[in-house]
C-alpha cells in the first residue's frame, strides 16, 4: 500500500498504517508526523521525507526505513525490529532501548542510546554512520553502540559520553579524545571485539553501501565499564 501523507495529521496517519492489512507500506510526503510505526510488530514500513518525533517508539518487530531524516526520540524504548535512517537523526535516539537495531547513515544528535539495556537474547544495537552528539550511551546498561564517523570528522563523539555507563559496549572508529568518566575503560578493539560487531556492520553496509573491509581497516576504540559494579561505593562506604 502507498500512502501520500501530505496534510494528514499524526493520529490519522498512524490509524491508516495500523489499519492497513498489507505487509509492505510506503508512505510518501512525510513531514514531521509523529509516532510513525509506533509499536510496529511485523510490517515493513518505508517513510519518504522527514519523519517526526518518536518514530518507531515501542517497536516490537518489523522494519521501518526512513528515506530522509529522523527527528527526536527515534526508537524510544523499542523492543525489537529494525529502523534504518538514510539521513541525519535528532536527539535521544534509542532511549531505553531493550532490543532491535537502529542504523543511521548520517549524524545522530545528543543523548543517543541513553539507558539502553539488554537481557538474555534481547540485545539492542545502534550503529551511527556519522558522528554522535554529547551524552552518547549515558547510563548505558547493555547493548552495543557503534560510531563509524565515515566522513572522518575531527570529533566522532561529543563530550560526556558513557557517563554512568555500567554495562554494554561502545565502539568508536578512530580515537576518542573527549574526557571519559573514571567508571569506564577505553582500549583499542581487538580482532575478537571486532568479530562481535561484524553482523551489525554488515547490516549497515547492506542498507547504506560501503564495505566492511574498508570500515574495519581502521582502528576502533572500545569503551567498557571499568568493573562489574562500578558504582558499588559511590554513595556509601560499605
Amino acid at each position: 500500500m502507498e500512502i501520500y501523507a501530505k496534510g494528514i495529521e499524526s493520529r490519522q496517519l498512524n490509524e491508516i498504517i495500523r489499519g492497513c492489512k498489507d505487509d509492505k507500506i510506503v508512505i510518501r510526503g512525510v513531514n514531521g508526523q509523529r509516532f510513525i510505526a509506533c509499536g510496529l510488530d511485523k510490517k515493513d514500513v518505508t517513510a519518504v521525507g522527514t519523519i517526526g518525533n518518536g518514530a518507531g517508539a515501542y517497536m516490537q518487530g518489523g522494519v521501518l526505513r526512513v528515506e530522509g531524516s529522523a527527528q527526536d526520540a527515534t526508537g524510544d524504548t523499542m523492543n525489537g525490529g529494525e529502523i534504518y535512517v538514510g539521513g541525519r537523526c535528532g536527539d535521544a535516539a534509542g532511549y531505553a532501548m531493550r532490543g532491535g537495531g537502529i542504523f543511521i547513515k548520517g549524524d545522530v544528535g545528543y543523548r543517543a542510546g541513553v539507558h539502553m539495556k539488554q537481557y538474555g537474547e534481547h540485545k539492542p544495537v545502534i550503529v551511527v554512520g556519522g558522528t554522535a552528539g554529547c551524552f552518547l550511551g549515558e547510563y548505558l546498561a547493555g547493548g552495543v553502540i557503534v560510531v563509524l564517523n565515515t566522513e572522518n570528522k575531527e570529533n566522532p563523539v561529543g563530550e560526556d559520553m558513557a557517563r554512568g555507563m555500567h554495562g554494554g559496549r561502545i565502539y568508536v572508529r578512530g580515537r576518542v579524545t573527549v574526557p571519559l568518566p573514571v567508571s569506564v575503560t577505553a582500549r583499542k578493539a581487538g580482532s575478537e571485539d571486532m568479530l562481535f560487531i561484524k553482523p551489525y556492520l554488515e547490516s549497515f553496509c547492506v542498507a547504506f553501501g560501503g564495505s566492511i573491509k574498508e570500515l574495519t581497516s581502521d582502528e576502533f576504540t572500545l569503551i567498557l565499564p571499568a568493573a562489574g559494579n562500578p558504582y558499588k561505593r559511590l554513595y556509601v562506604h560499605n
Binding site: N31, G90, D107, G133, C134, F135
Partner: protein
C-alpha cells in the same frame, strides 16, 4: 483575563515550537512562509499563545520607533496616549489591522504608533534615543494597568496573541507584510498563564526573543537584571532573556557572541581545558556576569536589525536544527518546519549545546 487561559485549565502534553529564517541578501518575504513553517509543528503548542516578529516591515517609517500596544480598555488607552503624546512626536497611529477569525477571541485593543522622542524631552532626560524609548516602555508596562508595549523597535514589529500560531498569523494578516527576516513561536505554557502579553516574542527595542524551554535560573536572573532598571512584569520567564541581551549588548557593549558566553557559559571543566587567552575571556565573562547565566532547557532565536541568532542551553535539552539554502538561513525546533518551506537544502545540521549560530544580512 478569562480563567480558561490559565495553566491547569487546559492541559495537552506538548512543547513550545520556534522557527525563523533570514534572507541574507536582504530579499523580502511575506508572512506566508513563516506561518507554514510554524504550523508544521502545531502539535508542539496547545493554543495558549502564538506570535511572530518581522524585520524590515516598515520601510516607510524606518526612522521611527514602531510601538505596538495592547490595551485592556479605552480608559488606559487614553491614559497611555496622553503619556505617549507628552514624550513623543507621533507621526502616525492606527489600529493594527486584523482579520476576524473564530479561532482568536477576546482580543484586547491593539494599536500601533510610529514615534520619535520629543527633542525637548530627550534633551531634558540626558538619555540617548534607545534608552529613552526603553524607559518609556517599562514605565507603561509597570505603571499603566492594562497597557502593554509588546514591540518598540525600528522597522520591525511583533504580532502575538492567545491561539495557535498559524491562526495568530492569519489574524494579524501577516501575508500583507514583507520582511527580510521572520521569527515565530507556538506556545505551550507550563508554569505561567497563557495571556496575550505572555505570548512570544518578547521584545525590547529591536530585540525579539522566541524561546522553547523553561529557565531554572529565572528568579536569580530576574533579581540581577532588575538591579539595572529592567522590570519583569509580563509573568513569564522568557522576557528576562530579552533584557539580558539588551543589557549585555546595548548597555555593556558586549558582542552577541560574548553575550552568549554569559547566557550559556561553558562549564568550568571546559574552561579549564581552553587555551590561555580563551580561558581568561571565558572566566572573566562567567565571573563578572554570573547572575546572568541562564540554566535549564532552552532553545532561543533572537531577532535583531539585520540578523538572527540561535542558541541552545549548554546541555542541549531542547531540539534545534539549522539549514541553509541559497541566501537563506533557517532555524527551527524540528527539521520538518524547515522542510515545509525549503524541501531541499544545501546544508542541514544540529548546532551543539551552547553553540552560537549567527546569520546576518550582507551589507
Amino acid at each position: 483575563m478569562e480563567s480558561k487561559f490559565y495553566e491547569g485549565a487546559v492541559r495537552i502534553p506538548s512543547g513550545c515550537a520556534i522557527s525563523g529564517f533570514i534572507n541574507r541578501d536582504g530579499r523580502l518575504s511575506d508572512g506566508g512562509a513563516i506561518i507554514r513553517s510554524i504550523a508544521t509543528m502545531h502539535d508542539r503548542s496547545n493554543g495558549l499563545g502564538g506570535g511572530f516578529a518581522g524585520y524590515g516591515i516598515y520601510p516607510e517609517y524606518k526612522d521611527y520607533y514602531a510601538v505596538h500596544m495592547f490595551y485592556e480598555d479605552t480608559f488606559v488607552k487614553k491614559q497611555t496616549e496622553e503619556f505617549l503624546d507628552e514624550h513623543f512626536d507621533i507621526i502616525n497611529l492606527s489600529k493594527i489591522p486584523v482579520r476576524k477569525t473564530p479561532k482568536i477571541v477576546d482580543e484586547p485593543l491593539i494599536w500601533r504608533y510610529f514615534v520619535k522622542p520629543l527633542p525637548t524631552k530627550l534633551a531634558e532626560s540626558q538619555l540617548d534615543e534607545d534608552e529613552f524609548v526603553s524607559r518609556c516602555a517599562f514605565r507603561i508596562n509597570t505603571f499603566m494597568k492594562g497597557a502593554y508595549v509588546f514591540s518598540c523597535g525600528k522597522n520591525m514589529g511583533a504580532f502575538k496573541a492567545v491561539g495557535y500560531p498559524e491562526d495568530v498569523g492569519e489574524f494579524y494578516r501577516l501575508d500583507e507584510y514583507a520582511a527580510y527576516s521572520w521569527i515565530a513561536h507556538g506556545r505551550y505554557p507550563t508554569n505561567t498563564p497563557g495571556w496575550w502579553g505572555g505570548a512570544h516574542p518578547f521584545c525590547l527595542l529591536d530585540f525579539a526573543v522566541v524561546h522553547n524551554g523553561e529557565i531554572s535560573s529565572y528568579d536569580a536572573n530576574r533579581r540581577n537584571i532588575e538591579m539595572y532598571g529592567y522590570k519583569c512584569n509580563l509573568q513569564t520567564d522568557t522576557e528576562v532573556i530579552t533584557y539580558i541581551f539588551d543589557y549585555l549588548v546595548r548597555k555593556r557593549g558586549l558582542t552577541l557572541r560574548e553575550a552568549c558566553k554569559v547566557i550559556a557559559a561553558p562549564f568550568w571543566e571546559q574552561i579549564d581545558r581552553m587555551p590561555e587567552k580563551e580561558r581568561r575571556e571565558a572566566e572573566y565573562l562567567r565571573r563578572v556576569y554570573s547572575g546572568l547565566l541562564v540554566t535549564g532547557p532552552f532553545s532561543v532565536i533572537l531577532g535583531y536589525t539585520g540578523g538572527l541568532l540561535a542558541i541552545n542551553d549548554r546541555l542541549k535539552l531542547r531540539g534545534m536544527v539549522v539549514a541553509e539554502k541559497g541566501n537563506t538561513t533557517y532555524i527551527a525546533s524540528e527539521e520538518c518546519a524547515i522542510r515545509a518551506i525549503a524541501p531541499t537544502v544545501d546544508r542541514i545540521y544540529a548546532p551543539k549545546g551552547g553553540e552560537v549560530v549567527i546569520a546576518e544580512v550582507n551589507r
